[in-house]
């Protein structure tokens, strides 16, 4: 394992050092004391392990495809945005727009996620152990979002084919979001996914798997229909 001591280094220095180590064949790199610097570990395309030994700023692990990233603190805005593959785990909280527009991979937030979680997600898996803020899943296209705790308002607004599961309360459903009964396969999937990524949460069973609600698109906003006036009054 290689260490990068981040103190006194710029984002550019740290990222260049990560890329240099990867180019030299290093597969396990720990960034010590990242002091919430922005844009750390962006666009890493190799299956390496990156550990941030503290909190990180905006866009950490943005646009990655392949690495396993662990953040031993909290993350700022746009965590793992537009990622295509790999796993990004945050032990603390995540700021606005976490996992926005991801196309693949897995983003795990042990504690809470702020607003706009998984906005425009196009694939992949998002798991939040705690609560999430408003507008989570807005216009989400594909992929799966699991929030073990409560959600904010406008949850799953104007979605396409993404599927959401919520263990706690939904403050308000977004436009065209509907609650469905999870299937037996859904419950099995939740059980195995949560025990893989969030074992402690499943263990304390704050949200028993059978209580999870499934939220999908009502598909009324997919094509304009003038007879659905009340729906479109909000949406257009």
């Amino acid at each position: 394992m290689a260490d990068i001591i981040c103190d006194g280094k710029t984002t550019r220095d740290i990222n260049a050092e990560i890329k240099r180590l990867i180019a030299n064949g290093e597969t396990d790199i720990c960034m010590r004391n990242p002091v919430a610097r922005h844009n750390l570990g962006v666009a890493i395309l190799q299956s390496v392990k990156l550990t941030f030994d503290g909190s990180v700023g905006y866009y950490c692990a943005g646009m990655v495809d392949g690495p396993t990233v662990e953040i031993k603190g909290s993350a700022g805005w746009g965590l793992a945005e537009s990622m295509m593959g790999g796993t990004v785990t945050v032990e603390g909280n995540a700021g606005n727009g976490a996992a926005a527009s991801i196309r693949g991979g897995t983003v795990v937030v042990h504690s809470d996620a702020a607003s706009r979680l998984g906005v425009s997600m196009k694939g992949g898996l998002i798991i939040v152990g705690g609560n999430c803020g408003y507008m989570a899943g807005f216009m989400a296209q594909r992929g799966t979002m699991i929030v073990c705790g409560d959600t904010g308002e406008a949850f799953a607004d104007s979605m396409y084919e993404a599927v959401c599961f919520v263990g706690g309360n939904i403050a308000e459903l977004g436009n065209d979001a509907i609650i469905e009964q999870p299937t037996a396969e859904d419950l099995t999937f939740l059980e195995s996914t949560l025990s893989q990524h969030l074992p402690s949460r499943v263990g304390n069973s704050q949200a028993p798997i059978r209580n999870f609600k499934k939220v999908v698109s009502g598909r009324k906003l997919w094509n304009f229909d003038k007879d659905e006036r009340s729906v479109w009054r909000e949406a257009l």
């Binding site: 844009n39 905006y58 746009g78 196009k122 094509n223």
Partner: protein
């Protein structure tokens, strides 16, 4: 028998156009959507309200054959390791694969390449064929992030962070279900046939402070190699350009109200934004105010029709122009061929603005394989190349006449305003007066 005009009265308020609009909406139940860009009669000041004042005795013109007038264009000299070098100052703007057919996208890429110009991706990601055929390809990062792919981002020669477009500032993109088919739907991760309406805001930043960090992210993702453009629709141009420059853009693209679109709410095309003439003046003043004019390059778009518009935009401060609609016209948009299909759409050649329908009679804005076949890629690419070359030669002849050995040396002193409005907007003397009437935000008298 009295002539009809003796007794027929037309309301100045409820004109036939307005009556038709009300009746269409009474059927439709929503705002009207169409493509093309504004159709309004141009009653505002435009580039046509300026004239060049070439050399006579106070200055010496350059000879056509012998004396060079360089059109070479350099963009992104501020922070990027590899600025973009083009042979001509006219570039092909971002138009999405989805709005445009595959054939149209590839023809534009090939045509631009022939003359050393550039091509831009669009809302829907990169088409591999356009990468293969473009020496210089700019990759758009839009609010929708449709097709966003870090591998494609890293293949680009420039990144364009798009905040908005001139035809519809403040709103997201639209692609009606008739065009969200097969591979287009797949690349955008959308269900087949949905009326796609993309977000107006980026999913991971909101204001200019966050954008500073976003731009740094894009630089880190591309190792600081390629220039970062910021594209905006023209609204509060003086302030917005300053904010984009302060946020670290290498190149700023300002798209005026006359800008084209594949599909948008009609009222946005007709009633939002600032005309391109005013936009270029405000943008230049903003960069001058920051002391960044020349260091941050300016690209102007929106209704650029020929080399004259381009030359005037450049004299007013642009380093290059983007063309969209004019490029489509080189591909045959609105040409009187397949006339029966224009009629089927309820229109005529020279009047068509039906890009949103997906039934483009000449195979440009369609995903229908039969219609697309009407656009022969190589022939169309030749026409695009010819147009870019012709427009460049128009800029050069004006620049030579003004005694300039480089098209970028054209400046406001080479222009006079033909009316008061143009003088007020541009801060350029009115013909016959040698007086400047006005000047927009940040305008300063030149020594």
């Amino acid at each position: 028998m009295p002539d009809k005009s003796d007794y027929l009265r037309t309301s100045g308020t409820f004109t036939p156009d307005i009556i038709e609009d009300i009746q269409v909406k009474a059927e439709l139940g929503r705002y009207r959507i169409r493509g093309f860009g504004t159709l309004r009669e141009r009653r505002w000041a435009t580039f046509d309200d300026l004239t060049f004042i070439p050399c006579t005795l106070t200055r010496i013109p350059l000879e056509g054959y012998r004396e060079r007038c360089s059109p070479k264009t350099l963009l992104g000299t501020r922070f990027a390791e590899k600025p973009i070098e083009l042979e001509v100052p006219i570039m092909i703007t971002g138009m999405s694969w989805g709005a445009l057919s595959y054939n149209a996208k590839v023809a534009l890429a090939k045509g631009a390449n022939i003359v050393g110009s550039s091509n831009t991706t669009g809302d829907g990601g990169m088409l591999m064929a356009e990468r293969e055929h473009s020496r210089t390809l700019i990759y758009e990062v839009l609010p929708s992030r449709y097709g966003i792919d870090v591998h494609h981002l890293q293949m680009a020669d420039g990144i364009e962070l798009t905040i908005g477009q001139g035809a519809k500032p403040g709103t997201g993109g639209l692609l009606l279900g008739s065009k969200v088919l097969d591979t287009v739907a797949e690349q955008r991760d959308l269900p087949l046939g949905v009326d796609q309406r993309s977000p107006a805001r980026h999913p991971d930043f909101l204001g200019p402070d966050d954008m500073i960090i976003k731009i740094e992210e894009l630089r880190e993702a591309t190792d600081w190699q390629v220039p970062i453009f910021v594209k905006m629709g023209a609204t509060r141009v003086f302030d917005d350009v300053k904010l984009a420059a302060k946020a670290g853009a290498d190149v700023i693209v300002v798209d005026g109200m006359e800008g084209g679109t594949g599909a948008s709410a009609e009222i946005c095309q007709e009633h939002t934004g600032v005309p391109t003439l005013a936009a270029v003046c405000e943008a230049r003043a903003a960069l001058e105010d920051l002391g960044l004019y020349g260091e941050v390059q300016l690209i102007i778009a929106g209704g650029i029709r020929h080399g004259v518009d381009a030359a005037k935009a450049m004299a007013l401060g642009a380093d290059a122009v983007y063309i969209g609609t004019a490029g489509l016209m080189a591909l045959n948009c609105n040409k009187p061929i397949h006339v029966e299909d224009y009629h089927e759409l309820g229109t005529e050649p020279y009047h068509c603005h039906h890009c949103h329908t997906g039934r483009c009679p000449v195979g440009i804005t369609t995903q229908d394989p039969d219609l697309m076949k009407r656009l022969d890629i190589d022939e169309a690419a030749e026409r695009v190349a010819n147009l870019l070359q012709a427009m460049t030669s128009e800029i050069q002849i004006l620049a030579r006449a003004c005694g300039k050995a480089d098209v970028h040396d054209l400046d406001p002193e080479d222009l006079r305003a033909l009316n008061l409005e143009a003088s007020m907007i541009c801060g350029i003397p009115l013909v016959g007066t040698n007086r400047v009437f006005g000047g927009g935000p940040g305008w300063k008298e030149r020594e």
